[in-house]
Subunit: 415 residues, 2 copies
């Protein structure tokens, strides 16, 4: 699906130089980065020089800065790889998890946001999700609101980190966090009040209200209007909701931010946003960029709990097992296996060659194998192979010379 949206595949190494990652994810992110000890003569110092990927966005920014001259002007890549965070594991939250990212480098056009919202919406819709909601906000709208509520510039990052937890800790919790960070309780209340959006308010209504409330951020609001309007022509149509309390924990966002939620999962299935300055931290000149990330394990958790996976016939890992009844017949069994594999079947040989059939028979049944091919001395003498259907328990003899084709036909009928 990502390729259909014009994204090209990219993989990056599991670890980056530690200074590439530090300072890109906020104070909490810094703490949650897995750091790798120096090796060789420096091993004893206890210092770290490398760190494991914390997301796929910062490594991409590093790649873009490093290979700028070799990349197209508009670079669109997708990347599906694990990342690592020293977080407390919970439902759908692991210390190692896969992110499925799309990013577009080189354009400030709201078409970029709309296309990305369309791509992730189409992915989720195809997986069977009908009830997801995309929350949309803008970093400049957020800081405008914080300014209007009286949060000083120097305290805004702290305020964002606190606000980002609104889902988890509620309004009282946010007010407490504000207080703990030296922001007056009354300011928290003003902020939270400004952030209130009725659940059924349409995006353009919210944006209209916002324009009256916040004269200072015309361009940011116009940008959100464009994203909302363009996304309406994609698979994200009808899914967007402007949520002024959406903050996104990562510190690198500069423009539109978004997050996808379903009712039965705290946290999100994915999120993203515009980060026009991140590449500049490596390159020395800013390059516009925007990306979106889906969390694979969270999607799997919800799909599993909702029983969304297609109910296929449970099929074992092996189509045919070969039982070898005498040591002298092992080579013949291996040859039969090769012939069956040439028929594209998945073939296993019961490894203990012996005179008794009961063990391979019992084992093959327990492994859900549909067909057992029996290479025995009597059959061998007659130029035959015995073939037992493990569902019907019927056994027939096939001529050895054409046994593979004979068995392949039978297995294909079974399936």
């Amino acid at each position: 699906m990502y390729e259909q949206y014009g994204f090209e595949p990219l993989e990056t190494p599991a670890f980056e130089n530690i200074e590439t990652l530090l300072g890109k994810y906020g104070e909490e992110g810094n703490r949650l980065i897995f750091k790798i000890l120096r090796r060789g003569e420096h091993a004893g110092t206890g210092e770290a020089d490398l760190a494991l990927r914390y997301d796929l966005t910062v490594p991409l920014a590093r790649v873009v800065a490093q290979y700028q001259s070799e990349l197209p002007r508009f670079f669109k890549r997708y990347q599906i790889q694990p990342v690592w965070r020293a977080d407390r594991p919970a439902r759908g939250r692991f210390r190692e998890f896969y992110q499925c990212d799309i990013d577009a480098i080189g354009s400030t056009s709201p078409i970029v946001e709309a296309e990305q919202l369309g791509a992730v919406s189409e992915v989720l819709t195809r997986l069977g999700f009908g009830d997801f909601v995309i929350r949309l906000n803008h970093r400049l709208v957020l800081s405008g609101l914080l300014n209007a509520a009286g949060v000083a510039d120097t305290q805004q990052n702290d305020a964002l980190v606190a606000l980002d937890k609104l889902d988890k800790i509620g309004t009282d919790g946010v007010a407490d966090e504000f207080a703990a960070r030296g922001i007056e309780r009354s300011v928290a209340e003003t902020c939270l009040k400004a952030f209130e959006v009725a659940p059924d308010e349409r995006p353009i209504e919210t944006l209209g209200r916002l324009e009256r409330l916040l004269g200072s951020e015309e361009r940011a609001i116009a940008n959100l209007r464009a994203v909302v309007s363009l996304a309406d022509s994609t698979a994200a149509a009808g899914k967007l909701r402007v949520d002024l309390s959406l903050a996104r924990g990562l510190s690198y966002y500069t423009g539109a931010i978004m997050e996808i939620a379903v009712p039965d999962l705290a946290g999100s299935l994915g999120g993203g946003g515009r980060y026009d300055n991140l590449v500049g931290m490596f390159l020395g000149r800013d390059v516009p960029a925007c990306g979106f990330s889906l969390g694979l394990e969270r999607i799997i958790v919800v799909m599993t709990e909702r029983k969304m996976f297609p109910a296929k016939v449970s099929r074992g890992a092996v189509d045919v097992m070969i039982a070898v009844l005498h040591e002298n017949l092992r080579s013949d069994a291996l040859k039969l296996a090769a012939e069956l594999r040439a028929e594209k079947l998945r073939v296993d040989i019961y490894p203990d060659a012996g005179s008794k059939l009961d063990k391979p028979l019992k084992y093959a049944s327990s492994r859900n194998v549909p067909v057992l091919a029996i290479v025995g001395e009597d059959e061998h003498a007659r130029g035959e192979v015995a073939v037992r259907d493990l569902q019907t328990r019927q056994q027939e003899n096939a001529p050895r010379a054409s046994a593979a084709q004979w068995i392949a036909k039978r297995v294909r009928i079974e399936q």
Copy 2:
């Protein structure tokens, strides 16, 4: 291919508890393990509690020990994941690289070795390798030869590490390493002489000579005879060569060991062997096991240098690019993109909506895109879309309503 040989997929986490990895790979391996700093309150101690996978075998042994009650009696899994070694990078040697492993747990039968040699040989043959050689040896044969040459038990591990470098450092280098480790130079000479195998000696000839030379290791030699004989009925037929100097650096092997070499690569494309005690280190009781690993990057290096990759028509990442000539037409462009994607095409939208065609035209050409769809005001007014073939430079108008099908047909003809 691995599934056709009866192996099931498995993935394991990137890091293991550090004590799971330490002591499993010999002294050099211990040094090359990437170690992860403790987090939280212990971060300042400079201690490591986790370490990155060094191979896929030790994590598998840990999994088998941990989940023994849930796994089948004969557990065959394949695993294709990166591993990390703090080695000096070189041609085909990276600090992060992919191993493609197969392992069979639960059986001592030489059928296991033969099937694995067959599987990796079929993989390499299908990739186009005709000239690989599989070197085969046995750990007990090796220690028998070392005993016969007068290397004390306590020095045998050191001797193996030195012998493992024979390829790289030659016979003089091995003699030097022996001396550095306190083993007499004359012993090194005796060893190396015993290890000599003429390049054209057939496996059964080598084994026959070995039986006369080494009365003490009858069972190991009989095991090698069985492996050689059974492998002859697999895709490994004719590829085996008994090489008495093959040592394999990893310390966990206990039985047959093997390595695949091609003339134009120092080092190997892959290797493996039997390790009947490794699971026991975690479980407290031994479980027989045998595995083989192919190195993805080394295979790619040789295939690239030999130009073995199929010469396909160079195809860009995008089938159709859409140029939007006016801001008001952006939504229409997004709708056209959705329709083209429903036709299974890979579609990109040139993000800057403007009145000039030259930029998207030049960009699409540079990106090797075959078709440019132009959404302009005149065409829009006429209910049409302009479609330009970027190879022939011919341009035609398609009716907007059926533009997606029209373009899809054209793109499929191009390819």
